[in-house]
């Protein structure tokens, strides 16, 4: 699965997620990606989330909407992403990751899986990582 979230100079927020789905899935299986609130959600009042991971688990907790609910209650993108992913792990034994932005342009890339390739561009700086805790920076 791949995905992106963004805030533009007018403060408008968007998300996009695309996937080939789950390895060796049944024909006709649809996971979280195509389902609003699960495989993505964007609201200028709260932020945007694009998830990846075990689709059935993501759907059971409506991960994208769950994280934005926490953000609407005042959590930062990082806090809300961690809480949403922790809930998914605890309640349905699901692993995954998310990229998240809020209306102020704050962002997070968080995951409970072994790895997640991610990158964030803001100002003149590109942040990126693959392993847990990794945050390498370079000039754009």
């Amino acid at each position: 699965t791949v995905g992106a979230v963004a805030v533009d100079e007018d403060g408008n927020i968007a998300c996009a997620t695309s996937t080939g789905g789950m390895l060796n899935k049944m024909e006709g299986r649809v996971g979280d990606t195509a389902c609003i609130g699960c495989g993505g959600y964007a609201d200028n009042r709260a932020g945007a989330v694009s998830p990846t991971g075990h689709g059935e688990a993501i759907m059971k907790v409506t991960l994208a909407r769950l994280i934005l609910f926490h953000m609407a209650q005042g959590m930062s993108p990082e806090e809300a992403s961690d809480l949403g992913l922790a809930t998914m792990k605890e309640r349905v034994e699901g692993l995954g990751g998310v990229v998240t932005v809020d209306p102020q342009g704050r962002w997070a890339a968080r995951f409970t899986s072994t790895q997640m390739a991610w990158a964030a561009a803001q100002g003149g700086t590109l942040h990126f990582g693959v392993f847990s805790g990794e945050d390498v920076t370079q000039d754009i």
């Binding site: 927020i13 996009a16 695309s18 080939g20 024909e27 195509a34 993505g40 890339a109 390739a117 693959v130």
Partner: protein, 166 residues
Amino acid sequence: MLPVLVVHGGAGQIPKERVEMASAGVRAAARAGYAVLQGGRSSMDAVVEAVTNLENNPSFNAGYGSVLNVKGEVEMDAIVMDGRTLASGAVSAVRNIANPIQLARLVMEQTSHLCLTAGGAGQFARAMGMPEVPGDSLITEYARMRWKKNLAPNANPVESQMGKMG
């Protein structure tokens, strides 16, 4: 507002020999999407540009390089959402389309529906003039190798893709 764009290339276990490819791919996609924002265009234009870039990169499970279903075929899903209007568009179980994310955007912009699936999504793509590609053209050798490996009776595709719970 200082624009920002964040991308991911999927969660799971990335084999050691593919880590650098994945990292380079997300960096390229982030740059491509961010260039759109720097050009003064919308966040929707930027996320679609970034995801199109990732779909075209065989390092990732989307578009070219998608994992295969049990029959060895590609079926893809995609969604976009606009935070200003809460407009959204999605496609599911779509085949023979190089960039499902662009089709999802057309569903949002050109229909009154949220999601089109399977044959109906393909029919809509044709009506929109979106070119069809042969299904095999989206399949990589790596995807075929993983598919064969996970046909084994004791294989666990979820664990193979996501890893074990910690």
